[in-house]
């Protein structure tokens, strides 16, 4: 049986970000893996290896979930498929919280 290829993974069902396992190009259709399930998804940014992107529309102030746990808070609105990193999310332990 041929093993199906995938481009990015979601760790837990309630996560709102995925993580790339390859470099991904803007506006391309990719395969997302959540446990044994594969789905197709359109990326809206260039995403480098191991970087995160939003699985849904995220609003400023929303919590970011990975591993099924909170990894920070959005400092800006993030469109579905966009890069999620230090420019648009922040630790809950950051001093001088904007939120």
């Amino acid at each position: 049986m041929e093993r199906l290829d995938f481009d990015a993974i979601i760790l837990k069902l309630n996560d709102n970000v995925g993580t790339s396992i390859k470099s991904l190009k803007n506006n391309t259709k990719i395969i997302l893996k959540l446990e044994e399930e594969l789905t197709s998804f359109v990326i809206k940014d260039d995403i480098k290896l191991c970087h995160k992107f939003s699985l849904i529309q995220i609003r400023r102030g929303d919590k970011i979930f990975k591993y099924g746990e909170v990894i920070g808070v959005a400092t800006d609105d993030i469109d579905q498929g966009n890069l999620v990193h230090t420019h648009n999310i922040q630790s809950l332990y950051h001093n001088d919280q904007e939120f």
Partner: protein, 386 residues
């Protein structure tokens, strides 16, 4: 799964995976000469304490305990203590007597403060110690005698997704066989401490975990730093980690799933079986040295983008799951797990393969860190010198 290896049986019942003479300079003044002695002899380990009389209070206790811990590590067959402070030398020597290892103390004072005389004395005494311990043979022993330190450095998201969970599987298996394991790097529990607390063996241990994390958080806040740029560091951020919480959640996966027995201080001896936490700094040399001082014979060390540093007293097995790193660092990574990251192999496969490699290393196979001698042990400070 193989649960036996060939190790060096020590008189106190501990098992070494190496059999070396530790040359330990316990005062800053004797460091350069001690290094020469070590370089001129075969099969030595060298540890250099750069401090001396100005160390007081809690720092002094921490430093003395680390010197004693390094010397008591089961990989050390004999100890040559070199000191410019004879009473301190005698104190350390007295603390090592119950370890039943051959120990010699030499001082700069007995050489009339002549470093060249000290060099000659060290070569003679050190040579005799090596000759004595070289007769010890390896014997078949169980992995239940192992304590391993678990480290990650220059991490990226592949560490938390793949390399660290693989380490967790190995730690779980070692604990099932009766061994022990430890993770440190307290600041990298922040945001994941609730998951560690759930595994605490008692309310007391649970409270130790939360107090340790809160201490580090308040310390960083009091110093006015934001963790971003410090931890996660620039290399972590460049590689895709965005916050301390994300890094911590990946970090703690290396601790596996077993009950957490206790929270140790930096370098504190592990004298029970099971999974431990060490309340300690997170930068690799300081973190790893805490494991050697605690008596770990071996460390497992995952990296995202690469990290050449390894323990000196206890060999470090270095591995990565990042496909680019695996392609580039052939002479640094003892093991590559990129195929797990890409979904071509299972976590179970990789953990079995690393386990087998670990057994080989325990029986004498060399790690890259040992081959290139990219290793050191350092002392952790918490205060100022007088």
């Amino acid at each position: 799964m193989n649960e036996y290896f060939l190790g060096f049986q020590r008189k106190n019942g501990s098992i070494g995976i190496r059999n070396k003479l530790l040359i330990i300079s316990i005062t800053g003044l004797t460091g350069p000469t001690s290094r020469k002695i070590s370089n001129l002899l075969q099969d030595t380990l060298f540890v250099d304490n750069p401090y001396g009389g100005g160390i007081i209070g809690e720092d002094k206790i921490r430093q003395d305990n680390a010197i004693i811990g390094f010397a008591k590590n089961p990989n050390v067959g004999a100890v040559l203590i070199i000191s410019a402070d004879p009473p301190k030398g005698e104190f350390i020597k007295s603390k090592l007597e119950n370890s039943s290892k051959p120990i010699e103390l030499i001082t700069l004072d007995e050489c009339n403060h002549d470093a060249i005389k000290l060099l000659e004395l060290g070569l003679r005494k050190g040579g005799s110690l090596i000759r004595k311990i070289s007769k010890i043979k390896r014997e078949k022993v169980s992995v239940s005698k192992l304590s391993i330190g678990l480290e990650c450095g220059r991490s990226d998201p592949s560490s938390g997704l793949v390399a660290n969970p693989i380490m967790g599987l190995i730690a779980d298996r070692l604990i099932d066989f009766g061994g022990s394991a430890v993770i440190g790097e307290t600041i990298e529990w922040l945001g994941a401490e609730h998951l560690l607390e759930k595994r605490a063996r008692s309310d007391n241990v649970k409270s130790k975990i939360s107090k340790a994390v809160e201490f580090q958080r308040q310390f960083s806040e009091a110093k006015g730093i934001n963790l971003l740029g410090n931890n996660p560091g620039h290399q972590n951020i460049e590689a895709g980690l965005s916050t301390i919480e994300e890094k911590s959640l990946g970090n703690i996966t290396k601790s596996g799933s077993k009950r957490i027995e206790d929270v140790l201080q930096w370098g504190e001896k592990i004298d029970k079986k099971g999974m431990f936490l060490m309340h300690a700094p997170s930068y690799a040399p300081e973190s790893l040295s805490g494991f050697s001082a605690a008596g770990c014979q071996l460390t497992l060390f995952s990296t995202g983008v690469g990290n050449s540093f390894t323990n000196h007293i206890s060999p470090s097995i270095k591995f990565s799951a990042n496909p680019e790193t695996c392609e580039q660092l052939n002479n640094q990574l003892d093991f590559k797990c990129a195929d797990v990251f890409l979904g071509k192999k299972t976590f179970e496969d990789a953990s079995n393969n690393i386990w087998n490699f670990m057994i080989d290393v325990c029986s004498g196979a060399l790690t890259w860190g040992e081959i290139y001698n990219d290793s050191s042990e350092v002392f952790s400070r918490i205060d100022r010198s007088l």
